[in-house]
């Protein structure tokens, strides 16, 4: 692009050189120079394009390997793989339903806890917080994202689970036991513990993207609402949240995508039991944690293949969820890059 607009500057110089005195000298010298430059440009463009294509190649490689390695299980079980609830490696019966259920339920619990908190923090940071604390507040919230999953797991095992066991579960059983979600014996390692630790982990993602989405709401929208006599909260509700709805939805879905694939912390507290139970007090198992626990222990090819198929399903679900979220966020921030991982 730039080359077309700005022709190579050595061209006129080279021409005048041949034109003026050295007619008999062949044009080889300046031309060679030109070609050397062009060769460098072509080679560079090639290398750079190749590394750009490598990004697409990496994604295709992931799809290829997952499809290839899960073929055995796909041929053995077909769609029934996702509907069967038996997971019995000894007799080679594989059904992924308990893991799908565990993944969905633990992520939903996480969203129920994380969404109000994240939106509250984002609104506070952009609309209420004194300007000088804004930077440090968002830094601290994003610091939550810097803590590795395995450390959350460690903390959950030794701090969160005992607290849940001693204080929270009796309270929940007493007040909300009638819903059927908080019944039965509670040993700490449960869907509830997994949901809470997941919530803590996805709050920084949801709140940082919500903050960015709120920041692009035009200032005059706020001023208009205030000019009509709205209180600050009414202004936030009408002008800010109303305008940012699609983007906040995108932030939530992006958080969901992270929660679905989260492995270590969940594996450490969910209890790892492939049974479907309605109560959140019961242990569960997720798609990611069954991979973490059983992949190195798989003894037969079919067992391996079934695990890879769970990986493929997890991959496809997160791709769809993430693509949807990106489109929603893009529709609000108009293509400005969103730093989800920061």
């Amino acid at each position: 692009m730039a080359n077309a607009a700005f022709p190579r500057p050595d061209m006129p110089g080279a021409q005048s050189l041949q034109g003026s005195k050295l007619k008999s000298v062949p044009m080889a010298a300046p031309l060679r120079q030109l070609r050397a430059g062009e060769f460098g440009d072509h080679a560079f463009a090639l290398i750079i394009t190749a590394s750009g294509l490598a990004v697409i190649g990496a994604l295709l490689l992931i799809v290829y390997e997952l499809v290839l390695r899960s073929g055995l299980s796909w041929h053995a079980f077909g769609w029934k793989f996702f509907a069967g609830s038996d997971w019995d490696p000894v007799s080679e019966k594989f059904g992924a339903l308990p893991f799908i259920y565990g993944t969905l339920v633990s992520s939903l619990v996480a969203l129920v806890i994380a969404v109000p908190l994240s939106i509250g923090v984002a609104v506070f940071t952009t609309e209420m917080c004194p300007k000088r604390f804004r930077g440090s507040l968002s830094f601290f919230v994003e610091l939550l994202a810097a803590i590795p999953s395995v450390i959350y797991g460690l903390w959950a095992i030794f701090v969160l689970v005992p607290i849940l066991y001693k204080y929270v579960s009796p309270l929940l059983a007493k007040t909300l036991g009638w819903t059927g979600l908080f019944t039965g014996p509670f040993f700490g390692y449960s869907m509830l513990a997994a949901g809470i630790i997941l919530a803590i982990m996805i709050i920084p993602i949801i709140s940082s993207i919500t903050r960015e989405v709120l920041a692009v709401v035009p200032q005059h929208q706020r001023e208009a609402a205030l000019a009509l006599g709205a209180t600050r909260w009414e202004m936030i509700r009408i002008s800010v949240l109303g305008n940012a709805r699609a983007g906040i939805m995108g932030a939530i879905i992006l958080g969901l995508g992270r929660a679905l694939g989260e492995t270590m912390a969940v594996t450490m507290v969910i209890g790892n039991s492939p049974h479907i139970a309605k109560s959140l007090f019961a242990p569960g198992y997720t798609m990611a944690s069954v991979l973490a626990n059983e992949f190195t222990e798989a003894t037969s090819n079919l067992y391996f293949s079934a695990l890879v198929e769970i990986g493929l399903a997890l991959f496809l679900v997160t791709i769809v969820v993430n693509a949807l979220a990106r489109l929603l966020v893009w529709s609000v921030t108009r293509g400005q890059p969103v730093r989800a991982s920061a």
């Binding site: 730039a2 080359n3 700005f6 190579r8 062009e38 460098g40 463009a45 290398i47 750079i48 394009t49 590394s51 750009g52 990004v55 697409i56 990496a58 992931i62 390695r69 939106i119 509250g120 923090v121 209420m128 300007k131 507040l137 919230v141 610091l143 939550l144 810097a146 803590i147 590795p148 395995v150 450390i151 959350y152 797991g153 460690l154 903390w155 095992i157 030794f158 701090v159 709050i203 205030l226 006599g229 709205a230 209180t231 909260w233 009414e234 694939g261 492995t263 450490m268 990611a288 973490a292 997890l314 991959f315 997160t318 791709i319 993430n322 693509a323 990106r326 989800a340 991982s341 920061a342």
Partner: protein, 290 residues
């Protein structure tokens, strides 16, 4: 920018004023609820981790089950090895793809790469582990640091790629034009002028990606696998700090729990140190762009 405290306006009904106050209170409550786990996690890490840190932790390999003592020296070295392999593979590809997007990528292929990078960013890390297992471990027929490095490298690429693009686009067009005007070929301009000017920004991206993968455990489970011994060879199974924490946290031994806390403290210092350094650099505006 600043909004006046609207409750001062005289003719606002009590109900609306109370709602306004209640919502402000709720927002503050959410901030407290979100910051509480942060304080708790860091407090516990420092409290339980620091008391378990000792010289042996940094110099010894793990003792066999049942014996007290020992350390994670081999895991720290192993982590450095794996992260080194990952950076060696991931950084060139990430920066290269970023250069493509910024300098050549205003077309359909560019948009496709951008979208793919965002999608790759969301792929669960454990899936990366499966892929590295399939393309490296299956061919080598044993676990290796290399396989873990490949998994982490794929995870680094999208972050580096997008930040590099952003940083290169910040470099003023006039600088490129000045270089073209002096007869510098395009590739030289990109490398010595554009990339050079954006160096600190690009490094920021690399550090962010590094911080993100430094604590990753899931992709290492069935690629580097872990090991109780010293290992400096990329094609052998290797201990890694996050793996060791995972194993020790799930063990029934108090001494191992203690060491898991110590390992976590070391890991978090590494990561938060990197992130804060980046943050500090960004604050000070040490970007090369004018």
């Amino acid at each position: 920018m600043e909004t006046k405290p609207s409750s001062r306006v005289p003719d606002i009904s009590l109900r609306r004023r109370l709602t306004d106050h209640a919502m402000t209170g709720l927002a503050i409550l959410t901030v407290i609820l979100v910051l509480a786990p942060l304080v708790a996690v860091f407090g516990d890490l420092v409290y339980k981790g620091a008391s378990s840190l000792n010289w042996a932790f940094f110099t010894q390999t793990p003792k066999p089950v049942g014996e007290a003592g020992g350390g994670m020296a081999n895991a720290i070295v192993g982590s450095v090895l794996i992260l080194g392999v990952a950076s060696l593979i991931g950084v060139p590809f990430g920066v290269g793809a970023g250069i493509y997007l910024a300098e050549y990528g205003r077309n359909r292929l560019g948009s496709a790469i951008r979208f793919t990078a965002d999608v790759l960013n969301g792929v669960p890390s454990i899936v990366m582990g499966i892929v590295a297992w399939a393309i490296v471990v299956l061919y080598q027929r044993h676990f290796s640091a290399l396989a873990g490095g490949v998994a982490l490298a794929i995870m680094m690429v999208p972050t580096i790629c997008r930040t590099t693009e952003e940083m290169l686009l910040l470099v003023p067009r006039s600088l490129r034009e000045a270089a073209y005007g002096l007869g510098v070929p395009r590739w030289r301009t990109t490398l010595s002028i554009t990339l050079r000017t954006a160096t600190s920004g690009v490094i920021t991206g690399v550090m962010l990606a590094f911080a993100r993968i430094a604590g990753e455990t899931a992709p290492l489970l069935f690629t580097t696998f872990g090991s109780p011994y010293w290992n400096l060879q990329p094609n052998q199974p290797t201990a890694a700090l996050p793996l060791q924490i995972f194993v020790y946290a799930n063990s029934p031994y108090d001494d191992w729990h203690r060491q898991a806390w110590a390992g976590s403290l070391v890991l978090i210092i590494l990561i938060v140190g990197a992130v804060s350094a980046v943050r500090y650099a960004v604050r000070r505006g040490t970007f090369g762009t004018a």
